[in-house]
Amino acid sequence: MAPTKGLEVNGLSVQFGGLKAVSNLSLAVQHGELIGLIGPNGAGKTTVFNALTGFCRPNSGTIIFDGHDITHKPPHFVAQFGVARTFQNIRLFKDLSVLDNLKIAYHQNFGYSILGGILRIPLYHQEEAKVIEESVRILDLVNLTEHRQVKAGNLAYGNQRKLEIARALVMKPKLLLLDEPAAGMNPFETRELVKLIREIQESFDLTVFLIEHDMSLVMNLCKRIYVLDYGLLIASGGVDEVRNDPRVIEAYLGEDAPWQS
């Protein structure tokens, strides 16, 4: 098979004890797409992300990214292939400055060795200057430059979400997984976020795959949507197609129909 660009998941199953969190999931995301993953609470969405990024081991199935099999690879290995992610409950390095948060994400791009760093070889100085330049460039994009010396934990909530995305961008990823990026944001912040995601997707030539509860955001951004319920893929397709799918409506019965608001 010729190496395809993008993400290909085949027959993915993840089991925790007796509970099947994800069963037999297959999906494909083409390079440059902006795709949504939705589903009621507990449908297994975050588990899918965890399996994709190596944080939990799938019991069966394969995950191919850009032609590389990343199925059972550890998280740092997956990251090296250009898969970046954010977390539902924001995982910033809270006691470090905003700038240091970004510097850490630049990790894989450093060329000097441990010894080189200790001896402060010329490459050290070059690359340390470059990482600041790069970081500031990305901070400008998310309007956080003036906060660069602030502790990440002291940022306002919406800015923490943005910083987490910025941090992922520093890795120069090809695929960006966003786990509920708008959670806890007010409508104004959400609109800003939509703009930001569009902007970075274009300027960084990214594939974006996102989990979200805020349907206005999903409907606005994503061209295609996958719907998960009890670990099973129950629908996929364009926005209108999914919206009118009887299985999707049924899955959401009992919850607030997410697209009414």
Binding site: A79, R91, I104, H107, I118, L119, E128
Partner: protein, 332 residues
Amino acid sequence: MLDLKGRKGKWNISVLILLGILYLVIHCMAASRILLPYHIQVLGLVCINIILVVSLNLINGFLGQLAIGHAGFLAIGAYLSAALTVFYGFPFLLAILISGIAAGLVGILIGVPALRLTGDYLAIATLGFGEIIRVIILNIPAVGGPRGFSGIPRLTNFGLTYLLAIITVFVVKNFIDSAHGRAVVSIREDEIAADSLGVNTTYYKVAAFAIGAFFAGTAGALFSHYMQYISPAPSQIGFLRSIEILIMVVLGGLGSLTGSVITAFALTLLPELLRGFAEYRMVIYPILLILMMLFRPSGLMAGNELSFEFLEKLFKRKPKSNAKGVSPGGAN
């Protein structure tokens, strides 16, 4: 833009010059008998403790893993170097280097399995490894077994301890300020996030552990050739020693090298200066330890380093001393 380049390099050189002057001052004071040989002897122990405390702080403070078997690495260095110089006539500097490497290798050997554990388990496992090393030494008759290893030549002098202490601080400081050191700190802050950013957490845990072990090994080599005797007692190379180093790390501040140097200095001198202190220090230290964790968990220096920037900030802030809640920020 701010602090893009230059400043760090200048800082290193000016500090080195200051340290050189300090050495000359101590040397002159010793030559003119202001400082007696006894004082110099104690200062040497201060330097050895600085090596131990700074290297443990790398593991406890920067990596954020509570390893408490540091004396085990000291033991390896102390005994191995003594065996090398006494039995095989190795040159001392080579013996120090080999001791450090051996301790570092054992650190890797221990680190690979132990660092898979977290928090409490790691603490007990490292304590256990330290004790196993001690028990093994107790069972080697060639190095004196329970009686200890005596007749070690006095090859360590104050200058050597001073030099090695400086090297340790600089290596750890430069490591922390590099991409690799930041990876280590990111593990302390949030291991899962670090992992997701491509940091090979196992590699960096073991690397930090090995660097810490290496320096503890060299400290051991200096120690045994300074005291000319090494005993396998818990207070020398066992868990009591490990805990003592840990106390210095914590009181100085997890993640503050300046704090480590200050406490290594203060807590080595205090028992020598105050006669009654030695008796009560094991009551006072733990109380300080608990109070520190309850009220100022970040330690004396609160993760700050004594630097030109820090001093600047300190003095700039002074006029507005009423302004509360100014966060120091992570300007490093």
